[in-house]
């Protein structure tokens, strides 16, 4: 489900923030940010999720994720 977000600067999108600490571990979602563009989203992600010394961090706009199924949705019955 994708929400529409409004911020004082105008329309904004939600981004998932993914990171990992070790080469041996998989990338996992550590949080989300809401921003009007990719650059600000990257800045927000870097500033907000600074609790670890991540070796990798990536963000992806939520509306670019193709969800096959998820808990709580109709398709999850499969």
């Amino acid at each position: 489900m994708t929400h529409a977000y409004n911020r004082v600067q105008g329309a904004a999108r939600e981004y998932g923030v993914f990171a990992r600490k070790l080469r041996a571990e998989p990338l996992r979602q550590v949080g989300t940010v809401v921003a009007p563009d990719d650059d600000l989203a990257a800045a927000y992600a870097r500033a907000t999720y600074d609790e670890e010394r991540w070796i990798e961090m990536a963000i992806v706009a939520r509306d670019q994720l193709v969800t096959l199924w998820a808990p709580g949705e109709e398709t999850s019955e499969a």
Binding site: V8, Q9, V30, G31, V34, E51, E52, P71, E73
Partner: protein, 299 residues
């Protein structure tokens, strides 16, 4: 609702669960958010650049924690900007303690040791027991950082106590009013709070008194170990307060009257009226938003 499964989406919730979850998130978001201006006003009195930077890092963490709670509320259908920028100051749902001004670096570090310890207990309990998956996962970050705030408070308390003289006396003066204020933070005692939907819905796992005891068991021994007097002691497995609970508090003078017990109705009335710094702190983050909005009215 399956006992062991996490809830992941509104479609899996009853209307009442959603209401309780939102209420709990608002309290959490408001508490994290208001700690930012409360700590900022005191961090300006930092004794060194390094100390100031630590204060600012803590404030940045608190804002990120607030973001986590408010963003979940947004996913649950609330309007984040309205929640933060358009609510009446008195409707914010954070502990009364933050309405009493922190006026020095000493008071800020005692807040780190006491208030952040309270946050650590409350959120640690939610982190362990919360039935709502997105919040449980979001709290991973929060717990790591609250630990850092707590360490800052404890290290400074130890250092100031060891310094002795006026430094230690100033620390003791801060503890004298801030300790009972944090004891109160956990709310009504269990015997008066008959029923908690937050417990029924597994939004938290411990009762108010269990959380209060947990906090006391962490704070009292630390203070005693470092020669800081607190009005509580251990009896068997329990910690017992050495003053009537609750009792009256003069917010302007920041002084407790241990000779004047009061009722919980009196305490609730004081909390509802909010304390001296409520409006000033809320204005600190609300005013600029509305100024910006007026200047960019076309948006």
């Amino acid at each position: 609702m399956a006992a062991l499964d996490l809830i992941e989406a509104p479609s899996e919730m009853s209307a009442d669960y959603l209401k309780e979850l939102k209420h709990t998130l608002v309290v959490s978001g408001d508490t994290e958010l208001i700690s930012a201006p409360a700590y900022y006003l005191a961090a300006q009195r930092a004794p060194s650049i390094n100390a100031f930077m630590t204060g600012i890092a803590i404030i940045q963490d608190e804002l990120a924690h607030a973001h986590i709670a408010y963003h979940i509320l947004e996913e649950l259908g609330e309007d984040q900007e309205k929640l933060i920028f358009s609510r009446d100051p008195k409707s914010f749902r954070y502990p009364y303690a933050f309405d009493v001004p922190l006026e020095s670096w000493t008071e800020l570090i005692v807040a780190n040791a006491f208030y952040d310890q309270a946050g650590f207990c409350l959120l640690g309990d939610i982190h362990e027991h919360c039935s709502y998956g997105p919040w449980k996962r979001g709290l991973n970050k929060v717990m790591l950082e609250e630990n850092f705030h707590l360490r800052n408070g404890r290290n400074w308390m130890k250092k100031m106590s060891q310094a002795g003289g006026e430094t230690k006396a100033e620390l003791q003066r801060a503890v004298d009013w801030m300790f009972p204020l944090t004891v109160e933070w956990f709310g009504l005692p269990d015997e008066l709070k008959m029923h908690s939907k937050q417990l029924d819905y597994k939004l938290k796992g411990k009762t108010n008194d269990q959380l209060r005891q947990w906090w006391l068991s962490l704070v009292v021994p630390y203070c005693e170990e470092h020669g800081v007097k607190v009005p509580a002691h251990q009896e068997g497995e329990q910690y017992v307060l050495d003053y009537p609970f609750p009792c009256t508090f003069d917010a302007e003078a920041r002084r407790w009257d241990f000779k004047d017990p009061c009722t919980w109705d009196d305490v609730l009335a004081r909390w509802r009226a909010r304390g001296p710094r409520n409006a000033e702190m809320v204005a600190m983050f609300q005013e600029e938003f509305h100024t910006f909005r007026k200047a960019h009215a076309h948006n």
